[in-house]
Amino acid sequence: MKILIVEDEPSLREVIQRALEQEGYVVETAADYARAEAKIAGYDYDCILLDIMLPDGNGLHLLETLRREGKRDHVIIVSARDSLEDKVSGLEQGADDYLAKPFHTAELKARIRSVLRRGRNGGDRELVQGNVTLDTESRRVEVAGREIPLLKKEFDILLYFMQRPDHLVDKAVLAEAVWGDHADQADNFQFVYAQIKNLRRKLSEAGADIEIRAVYGFGYKLSCAEPRPKP
């Protein structure tokens, strides 16, 4: 799996590269429009992370060029501009996803996995960790082939963890992701804990071999008994 990172900020380029290489991807980088254009012309990539605000050009033009030439590389736009118009025009021009800065590493990885999976089998509905399967569309969760009933919040929490296996999720970040903006400003995270407790109980009662573990009281991590399959 080959990934091209088009990003003008060296430090960000470096952290993304490091994170993705760590996931086992082959990563190449381009610091500006010209270099990105050259790389895209010369090679095929499974996924291109495209910053659309480049010092010497608009990343959207690269996307246009790519599509004009009939290349099927997956493109995830990474932009500092979190505007709907940018998102819409990016997706209309054939981007597979749109990620606004500042993103979480785990979020980026999840998006890449999702885009690549979509490319492979035409769908990204199912997430699998251990013997747990989560269907994002029908919102069903199965443990070893048997469905377990989850409440809405429980499902949302599990989905969040399934997309970020082995990643320490801060309680505050989880609260904001599941309960919405500003939930991380609550006085305490009792409400998060209550939901996690129920979710854990349901998972373990169903015999799941994944587990949501508390990490020093700051957050949680989804761990799997089996080694996680390579992306």
Partner: protein
């Protein structure tokens, strides 16, 4: 007070003493002139009588139909010596024919006949009634004052309106001017140099303020955009440490705290971008939003988050209340209003949310009124909550302004009360 009324008032007040002065002068001059004429007549008459007496001719009859009358009385030498020989005076005389007294002009002359006897001749001619004259002049002057005043004011008004039309055009234009909104250029169809100058100055000021406004908006927007990349780098580096390195509890704690502070900065930045976008009017697409449903959902969400506080909640909303708004903005408006109430109510406090007749009211118990002038300002914070960004109510106001909704804050029955009215 409008300029035109001030001018009218000043004209009236200035004309009043001027006309009074003029009336007095007129009276004095007329009186003097009439007396002069009467004196001439009296002089001729007395001369005639004296000549006749001295030459021994027959004296004219006391009344020859001219209303002039005369008397000749012999006087002593002593009297003649202490009395001026010619004296004019005004007096009331009795006219026997009319049987009434009338004002008259009198000439007294003392003369001596050839026998050395002194006589005093008094001739009188009826003259005008001074009071009548004064009254007449007063009436005339008042009438003149009114007519003159009306004319002057009328003419002034007309000239004023005609000449100051460009000024009023400019004022009307200024009334319609809203900073940050596209406006027609300052009207400038006048040939008057002063107004052209004024218009040019207004145009210049507006252009400059527009530029500043635009630049300020751009600056906030750009600064926020530029911050996104460094924030992303920091966030990813911290996550890398958390995920890839074996850490002690203390180290993890420090990193998580850094991450939370960073999230705070991210939210701040995002909110500023949102404000900039609202100010730029970048939310064109509207849809039908069921406000009642939105309220119910968000309230439920917040209730769950703040359950540990034991707040007492009352929600009185209709089945449905649909407004035409942008979805993001509607949820920003409702969310921030509700969150504000939840965050700033002490444990066990009461929150009342109601929606009726197009008015959304959120009341939450509090101890003292807030500074209503500032609560909607950016970064105004009344609470000691370090996690509060101080932009929530600024967002609420920005959304309200965007849709021209009325937002109101008041403190009543020891509760903060925010209400938004859909027109």
């Amino acid at each position: 007070m409008k300029l035109i009324y001030r001018i009218a008032l000043r004209l009236s007040l200035t004309l009043l003493p001027l006309l009074a002065l003029w009336a007095t002068l007129f009276y004095v001059i007329i009186t003097a002139e009439i007396n002069d004429e009467a004196d001439d007549v009296l002089e001729d008459y007395s001369e005639l009588i004296i000549i006749r007496m001295l030459t021994g001719q027959e004296l004219p009859p006391p009344n020859d139909g001219s209303n002039n009358s005369y008397t000749v009385v012999p006087v002593t030498e002593a009297y003649a010596e202490r009395t001026p020989h010619i004296a004019y005076l005004d007096a009331e005389v009795f006219i026997p024919e009319k049987e009434e007294t009338e004002p008259a002009r009198i000439l007294k002359t003392i003369f001596r006949d050839r026998h050395g006897r002194f006589y005093e001749l008094t001739v009188a001619t009826p003259t005008f009634e001074k009071e009548d004259l004064m009254k007449t002049i007063l009436i005339a002057v008042v009438a003149l004052y009114l007519v003159l005043l009306l004319t002057v004011i009328g003419v002034t008004m007309w000239v004023f309106r005609r000449s100051l039309d460009p000024l009023y055009a400019l004022l009307r234009w200024l009334d319609g001017y809203l900073p940050g909104h596209a406006v027609a250029p300052v009207p400038d169809d006048t040939s008057i140099a002063e107004f052209r100058k004024l218009n040019a100055a207004a145009q210049q000021a507006v252009t400059r303020s527009e530029e500043l406004f635009e630049r300020q908006k751009q600056f906030i927007g750009n600064a926020s955009h530029e911050l996104q990349t460094p924030l992303a780098i920091l966030r990813n580096r911290i996550e890398w440490l958390l995920d890839r390195t074996p850490l002690s509890e203390e180290q993890t704690g420090e990193l998580v705290k850094m991450q939370r502070t960073l999230n705070h900065a991210v939210r701040l930045n995002r909110t500023l971008l949102l404000l900039t976008k609202i100010d730029n009017g970048q939310f064109p697409e509207s849809s039908d939003i069921d406000l009642a449903r939105l309220l119910a959902e968000q309230t439920q969400q917040l209730e769950e988050i703040y359950r540990s506080r034991g707040l007492r909640l009352s929600l009185r909303i209709p089945e449905r209340f649909t407004v035409r708004m942008n979805e993001t903005l509607a949820s920003t408006l409702v969310g921030n209003l509700l969150r504000n109430a939840f965050v700033h109510t002490a444990a066990g406090g009461r929150i009342e949310i109601s929606l009726s007749d197009g008015v959304l009211t959120v009341r939450n118990e509090g101890t003292a009124p807030l500074q209503s002038d500032h609560i909607f300002d950016r970064f105004y914070r009344n609470s000691g909550n370090p996690d509060s960004v101080g932009l929530g109510l600024a967002l609420v106001r920005a959304v309200c302004r965007y849709y021209a909704l009325d937002i109101d804050y008041r403190f009543e029955r020891s509760a903060h009360c925010f209400s938004v009215r859909w027109k």
